[in-house]
């Protein structure tokens, strides 16, 4: 088997798991964790394509992954800040109960 296929399959699996987590968990933080997993799966794709692609010295995929990691860090910080802020108002992290647009 082409090694790239293996990595892509693992990435797809992780993506699906992350998506399942994001779709099914009640806790907002765990939804965020699911989203992080999906981002990571995408990063794995980028790196794998970079490694097995025709022009690794152009560094495109690698750069994408690095920027994506940086953006994910920002996303996590803001997302968790929001969760904490919402928790302060509603005393819950349950997404099913967070259905009001106003805090």
């Amino acid at each position: 088997m082409n090694p790239l296929t293996g990595y892509l399959l693992v990435a797809a699996l992780l993506f699906a798991i992350g998506l399942a987590g994001a779709l099914t968990r009640r806790n907002a933080i765990l939804v965020l964790i699911g989203i992080e997993l999906m981002l990571n799966a995408a990063n794995l794709n980028l790196i794998a394509f970079w490694r097995y692609g025709p022009h690794p010295e152009a560094l495109t995929g690698m750069m994408f992954a690095i920027f994506s990691i940086a953006v994910a860090a920002a996303e996590a910080a803001v997302g968790l800040g929001l969760v904490i802020s919402i928790h302060r108002h509603t005393h819950t992290t349950d997404l099913d109960e967070m259905n009001r647009m106003k805090g």
């Binding site: 082409n2 090694p3 296929t5 293996g6 990595y7 892509l8 399959l9 693992v10 797809a12 699996l13 992780l14 993506f15 699906a16 798991i17 992350g18 998506l19 399942a20 987590g21 994001a22 779709l23 099914t24 968990r25 009640r26 806790n27 933080i29 765990l30 964790i33 699911g34 997993l37 990571n40 990063n43 794995l44 790196i47 794998a48 490694r51 097995y52 025709p54 690794p56 010295e57 560094l59 690698m62 750069m63 690095i66 990691i69 994910a72 860090a73 920002a74 996590a76 910080a77 803001v78 968790l80 800040g81 929001l82 904490i84 802020s85 928790h87 302060r88 992290t93 997404l95 099913d96």
Partner: protein, 166 residues
């Protein structure tokens, strides 16, 4: 496909599954850390040394800690007594399974077209630095701006509101 790959892939998938399935939120956070570590190892396996270490530094050193902090600050560390899944979880599961099915199908059917470079790319940290300061300097600056904005935003969002400010 080496044994190492299967080991790492197994570790990552197991970590991810545990993160999604476990009841206790802190256990989930620790499990996702395992998944992150597995992915970092996979990056190393793919000769992306810098990205791998960045993954460890940022995901394990920062994101995981942040998640754990958020869990503790929101009193989510106790194991919930009732279900941890939302209403109609089956819809979500089916959707996720559908996505995986489509992806898997697409990957397996395009396997013979996929590129396959066996030569290890010789990319040093110096090259990455040059690329960041050269071709990718604008994205770098934008990411810097984004991170600053995120820092300020996160602080403001999570800041304790003054009494009577509501």
């Amino acid at each position: 496909m080496s044994v190492v790959f299967y080991l790492i892939a197994g570790l990552s998938v197991a970590g991810a599954l545990a993160a999604v399935l476990l009841k206790n939120t802190v256990h989930c956070a620790l499990a996702v850390t395992v998944a992150f570590a597995g992915l970092a190892l996979m990056f190393l396996e793919l000769d992306a040394q810098f990205a791998g270490f960045a993954q460890i530094l940022i995901y394990i050193g920062a994101v995981a800690i942040l998640v754990v902090f958020a869990i503790l600050l929101t009193r989510g560390s106790d194991t919930p007594t009732d279900t941890v899944f939302s209403k109609k979880p089956i819809v979500g599961l089916v959707t996720a399974a559908g996505i995986f099915a489509i992806f898997g199908w697409a990957i397996l059917h395009s396997a013979q077209f996929l590129p396959h470079q066996t030569a290890t790319p010789s990319v040093t940290v110096m090259d990455i630095g040059n690329a960041l300061m050269g071709r990718y300097v604008l994205p770098l600056e934008i990411v810097a701006l984004l991170l600053t904005a995120a820092l300020i935003g996160a602080v403001i969002v999570a800041m304790h509101e003054k009494a009577g400010a509501k």
